[in-house]
């Protein structure tokens, strides 16, 4: 099962990213667990300096922006 982490301190963009990602997962018919990473120390330990960030199975897929659902599908 896929593990998806949303990196960000709870800003509106992080919520938007989570929403879009959930939509992408559902549209592709995938099963995934979602986690929120809100602590700066943990966020930076992924090498991410601009939130929101998307981590899929331990790999950073994007940082600092909220892409469309279509684009997110590429990373899953």
């Amino acid at each position: 099962m896929m593990n998806i982490k949303i990196l960000g301190s709870g800003c509106t963009n992080c919520k938007k990213l989570e929403e879009n990602t959930k939509k992408a997962v559902a549209e592709l018919g995938l099963v995934a667990t979602f986690e929120k990473v809100t602590d700066y120390k943990d966020i930076v330990s992924y090498g991410v300096m601009k939130t929101p960030g998307l981590v899929v199975d331990g790999k950073v897929k994007l940082t600092g922006r909220v892409p469309s659902t279509e684009e997110i599908k590429k990373y899953l």
Binding site: V44, S45, G47, L62, V66, S68
Partner: protein
Amino acid sequence: MNFLQQIFNWLSNQLLKMDWLYDIIKLLVEKVFGLSMKTKIGESTHFFIYDTIKIFILLSVLIFMISYIQSYFPPERTRKILSRVKGIKGNLLGALLGTITPFCSCSSIPIFIGFTSAGLPLGVTFSFLISSPLVDLASFLLLLSFFGWEIATAYVIVGLVLAVFGGTIIDKLKLEKYIEGYVLDIRDVELAKENNNDNENDIFVLNRKERINYSKQQVKDIIKKVWLYILIGVGIGALIHNWIPTDIINNIIGKNNPFSVLIAAIVAIPMYADIFGTLPIAEALFNKGVGIGTILTFMMGVTALSLPSIILLSKVVKKKLLIIFVSIVSMGIIIIGYLFNAFSYIFI
């Protein structure tokens, strides 16, 4: 040549200064509202509407352009570029890269932790942190629009010099021990990650459509964040412009008051706003004959330092380093103000 000069002037007046908008709003105020431009009410109504629209147009266009450029330089890449250079070159590059990365002080903590934990020298990180809110393409073009190219160029140059200088001093003082312990602890995790993260470069590769989407989103986000500051700024500007007597302003921060720069710094440093909200106030003060140095000190004080950004930084550095950082930047801003007031005859 004369012909080219005329075209250039026309473009600069219409596109950057937006003379056309000035005329339209003048018509609106006079014909629709029935207010004469010679009355205080008429003139300040004009100032308010014209400046608000002008700033929002410039803001949207500029943020779009800058975000597009920015999308090539996320902080993760900036850090990589910076880790390759040493010494004062690092400070200079840090300051320059600061001009094309975020406007917002809210990202300063993750950037600080990210840079420090990757082993970048503290001075380079501070050069970046000073220049990032202070100087960017947007502030340059806005200053160009409001004050002309001499002042805009001077602002950018002294801003960069301040960033390089401030960073270099912090470097020389060897203050690494005043970074909060947990920031340094992250180092190991971070570097281990970076070494086996083979696809790290993927996140920088965006296609054109993705960049445009990103830029549009930035415009929306930033306008949502700053519109109130802009309205307040333009409101204060209109007030200064037409309602507060010139004498009073000149007594407090006029050219004959030797403390004018200090007063501007004391008011501006704790204040949180960005350059877009500050400009209309600066413009109104400028029209009242306040010295350009005093105005630069005011603008730099508002953008470079603020209570919220100082509180944020206090989470990653100890008190001593924080005080040194704030003092260096404040002193720099005050010195810049006095220098500009003394040599302003070159610019105006």
